[in-house]
Amino acid sequence: MSWDAVQEVAGAVLLLLGAALCLTAALGLVRFPDIMSRMHAATKPQSLGLLFVLGGMALSLRDTRLLGLLILIAVLQLLTVPVAAHLVGRAAFRTNQLRTDLTDPDELADDLARAGFHRGSGTGDRQTDDQTDDHTPE
C-alpha cells in the first residue's frame, strides 16, 4: 500500500469518526431530559467531531495550502461554541428552566438565596423578596 493510499484510508476513517461524534451529539440532544444536559451533548462531541472531520478532510485532500484555513475553522468553532453555550445556559437559568430535581448542588441558587432571591423549580413562578429581606447573610 502506498503512502497516498494509507492517507486516503486514514482520512476516510477520520471522517467516519467525526460523523459518528456528530451523531452522538444529536443523539444526546434528543435523549437528555433538560436543556442543561442537552447543551453538554450539543457542545462537546460536536466540537470534537468537527475537529475529526476537518482532520479527515486535510488527510484526504493532502493540500498544504488548505491547512491554515482548516486550522482557522477549528479555532473559530472552538471559540464560538462556549460563548453560545454560556449565553444559552444563562438564559435557561434565569427563566427557571433548570430542573432542580436533576441538579445537585445548585451553588448559584444558594448564592442568590443568600442575597435575597429565590428561584422556582421549572414552573415559572419566581419570587423575589428584595423588598422584605434585610440582606443579612444567613
Binding site: 467516519l16 434528543v30 442537552r38 472531520v53 475553522i73 460563548v83 449565553l87
Partner: protein, 106 residues
C-alpha cells in the same frame, strides 16, 4: 467499491441521521432554547457535510463557506438566547432578566 468509498458512504449516512435527530429536537423542544441549541448542532453537521463532499470530489472551493459558517453560525442561538422570552413546560412566559430586581446595571 473501494474501502474509501464504503467508509465515506457510511459517514454520509451517519451525518444524515445526526441532522434528522437534531431536527427532531428542533420540532419537539419545549422551549426556544432547545431549538437554539439544536440549530447550533445543525450548523456543525452542515460544516461536516461540506467537508465530506469536498474530500469526496477532491476540491477545496467550499472551504470559505465553512469558515464563514463556523464564524457566524452561532449567532442564531446567541440572539435567541439573549432576546427571546423563555417558556417553560407549563406554558408560562417570562422574559429573561439581566440583573436582579431593584438594581440597575453595574
Amino acid at each position: 467499491m473501494t474501502a474509501v468509498t464504503v467508509i465515506i458512504t457510511a459517514a454520509v449516512i451517519v451525518l444524515v441521521a445526526a441532522a434528522a435527530l437534531s431536527l427532531v429536537r428542533m420540532v419537539a423542544g419545549p422551549s426556544a432554547l432547545d431549538r437554539a441549541v439544536s440549530a447550533d448542532v445543525m450548523v456543525a453537521v452542515v460544516i461536516a457535510a461540506l467537508a465530506t463532499e469536498a474530500s469526496v470530489n477532491q476540491h477545496a472551493t467550499t472551504v470559505p463557506i465553512m469558515v464563514v459558517l463556523a464564524l457566524v453560525g452561532f449567532t442564531g442561538s446567541l440572539s435567541m438566547a439573549r432576546f427571546v422570552a423563555g417558556q417553560d413546560a407549563s406554558g408560562n412566559w417570562e422574559a429573561p432578566k439581566s440583573w436582579p430586581e431593584g438594581e440597575g446595571p453595574r
